[in-house]
């Protein structure tokens, strides 16, 4: 299971990649593996305003539907429309082709409330009961 060191992580198992005031967001390797085969994705519209903690979409596996939450606030400036037709990209490449949205951050300091790779890896260990 991968935990790239350059990303920030939320307790809801989303990752954030920061570049300037832009943030790219997706779900983690652990999240995709827990969900199983992903067969449906619902994404927001470009221009939507999100606050940290808002649900911005839905990821559905064969068995269940899960909300996805914005780890930080901002305005949606891009969504990965390729996922609508190939949601399985999230399983295959959660940190790459499986990205979900890009935000223009409203408060870049919010990322400081997120976890680094080490802390997130520890959280996953605890959730798995290891």
């Amino acid at each position: 299971m991968e935990f790239p060191a350059n990303l920030y992580y939320s307790k809801d198992h989303e990752w954030v990649e920061v570049e300037g005031n832009r943030a790219r967001i997706g779900i983690t390797d652990y999240a995709q593996e827990s969900l199983g085969d992903i067969v449906f994705v619902e994404l927001p519209q470009v221009g939507d305003e999100l606050a940290a903690g808002d649900s911005f979409g839905v990821v559905e596996s064969v068995k269940s539907a899960s909300d996805v939450y914005a780890p930080i606030g901002g305005k949606v400036i891009a969504v990965n429309e390729a996922l609508l037709d190939s949601p399985q990209d999230i399983n295959a490449d959660p940190y790459g082709k499986g990205w979900m949205i890009e935000l223009e951050m409203s408060d870049p300091a919010e990322v400081e409330d997120l976890m680094d790779a080490g802390a997130y890896q520890q959280l996953v260990k605890e959730e798995k009961g290891e």
Binding site: G36, D37, V39, V62, K63
Partner: protein, 366 residues
Amino acid sequence: MAELKKTPLYEEHIAAGARMVEFGGWLMPLQYTGIIEEHRQVRNCTGLFDVSHMGEIVIKGPDAFKLVQKLITNDAARARGDRVIYSPMCYPDGGVVDDLLVYPQGEGEYLLVVNAGNIEKDVAWLRDNAAGLAVEVRDISPATAQLALQGPRALEILQPLAEAGLSSLGYYHWTRGRVLGVDCLISRTGYTGEDGFEIYFASAEAPALWRHLLAAGKEMGLVAAGLGARDTLRLEAALPLYGHELGPDISPLEAGLDRFVCLDKGEFNGRVALAAQKEAGVKRRLVGLAMVDRGIPRPGYPVLAGGREIGYITSGSYAPTLGKNIALALVAAGTIGAGAEVEVSIRERLQRAVVVNLPFYRRPRK
């Protein structure tokens, strides 16, 4: 909550890295490698399922036929010799206690195979109904393991391992024979829409038989398949699942199981209520839906036609073989027919779906 029950194959599933889930009070393998992959393997090749959670109940005694005939809606006289029958089992009001398979076991004896989550309820119901009859009701579930070998290559895989003539065993027939040296009851039945067999034998033999079957079939592409694939396979084949398409508040006629309800066979539990439903016409009917818009219909989602709520989804999923999102829905009878457009309310948004004929999937005939 009571501790979850485990099948004799629990350790095998853990060792295989299966993801385990609760189902009907049992801890069962949801998937080994992935639901979609296992689903496709069953459709294209063959899969092996641990279904030892299913319940097995023996009815024995001079009044065995009388009891079975009273309990089930199908005609117990059809369960003769090596002929297996499927039937709902109803309450007097026409609601469903359970749905089951009936295996005749010679004069005065039947084996009933019931749903895992209903075993205790069924045994109590059977004993209540047996009062005053010369018959014994015995739950042999804990001592009995069940495997389902399902898929187009099932016969090819099982025949060389079995001391029984399986190619001549017709659909919904059973026989006895050894499989890899283990005494088994083998029937040509299943819950996937594919050809295949269900095999019953002593629990103690389960780990060895499971391992040997998987090893023997490996070359031909046999894989272990979990409950996740079992559910998507049965949904594509439009086979009802108790608690979804059947239940105390859903009659077998509403579920479209008319051919398993023999109103003219004589008295049985639910006959009066079901005859009245048939006479007046059912108020609700199970229909198949295929989504037109994006979205996966899930159990409980409302179904609308012309802006009016007409029913709800009982089961729904992405269908791996069809590449579509499909559902079974219980809707007001007479409101819609095949080809009609309806809407499913998915997270408060109305998404279009079309009514389709059932089953969604039918296996290609050889």
